[in-house]
Symmetry: C2
Subunit: 200 residues, 2 copies
């Protein structure tokens, strides 16, 4: 594999392969692409990475990505200060904001409780959540975690954790996704959709 002997290409492939969803073949394809570009394009990509990493930190309040002390959501005081939505990571905030159907604040856990991988309650932003709920006047907390076993476990833990406080805890509705074909909906989703059925 003579081409492998080029250390620079190998290093680049190795670094790219660490990205999520990028396997050996994709990493190689990206590397060859980067090397076939002009210098400016490649250096631009490298600069974007360094600049973003240097200038983007976590919001002091909700742990969303922020290039100031506070993220754009927390620094906007025209939002609904009675509502807090708990999400796993900043990507989910992006999705929520894009949908435009939520105008409360957020709290980013940066992970889910995952006993198999040794992630316990102390490893995610739960203490900070309790402090916020104790200190701020939220009336409703929406738990918006992924519907998988770690998400369920974390939701359950949060419900117990927040039980002493006078807040309504809600969760996103489960059911048939819009535009889906009932024939292909998995049985757990169907079960949730049936038990959660609503009057017209």
């Amino acid at each position: 594999m003579s081409n492998e002997h080029n250390d620079y290409v190998r290093d680049l492939v190795f670094s790219l392969k660490k990205l999520p969803g990028i396997g050996e073949r994709s990493a190689r394809r990206l590397a060859f692409h980067i090397l076939s570009q002009n210098d400016a394009a490649a250096f631009n990509l490298a600069n974007s990475i360094v600049n973003a990493k240097k200038n983007v930190n976590l919001c002091k309040v909700c742990f969303n990505l922020a290039s100031e002390e506070l993220c754009p959501v927390c620094s906007n005081n025209s939002r609904n200060e009675k509502m807090l939505c708990i999400v796993e990571n900043p990507e989910i905030i992006y999705v929520f904001e894009k949908s435009g159907n939520y105008n409360g604040y957020y709290h980013v856990l940066h992970g889910l409780i995952n006993p198999l991988e040794g992630v316990g309650p102390a490893d995610i932003k739960l203490k900070e959540l309790v402090d916020r709920v104790a200190g701020e006047g939220f009336e409703e907390i929406v738990i918006a975690l992924n519907p998988n076993s770690n998400g369920e476990a974390t939701s359950f833990y949060i419900q117990k954790l927040l039980a002493p406080y006078n807040v309504n805890i809600t969760a996103l509705a489960r059911g048939i996704p819009i535009g889906s074909d009932l024939e292909y909906v998995d049985k757990d989703t169907l079960a949730e959709a049936i038990s959660g059925r609503k009057k017209f």
Copy 2:
């Protein structure tokens, strides 16, 4: 879209989106991943890009990627100097070397003739190919271009270009891929496989 207001994240997503096969969603996912890593991992990726781009150039002889004057293939003089394989880009050399079934030299065109996108014969390394074939003593030239219309057009052009020289010009065999299911093979491949059938 409050999260969009972070210029650094937007720039990073924008740069990542220029990579092949990376759409808006993947770019966002990669960006959030890069930002959630520790500094070292992100800076490492940026450095790999810059280092590869600075240190990797094109081989003076065959236009493969090289960090010296000559690429690892061209600087290996124990290969078969009678054979030359014409490929579209350096990635194909990697695939050939990995298969371990070819031990001649290569010539990288860096593109295919593509009239629709305005890529003509002068835009790829064809003049350099003719110079090599005229100057070096190749006995066989294997054309290993993709089996699509641009690959076919380029192959045809190369055959005419090299006709004056005393070399055998061959092409990779077409046919049914190993491990495939005949039911799903497209009709053009099947036609090639039938017309190219061989005696047991």
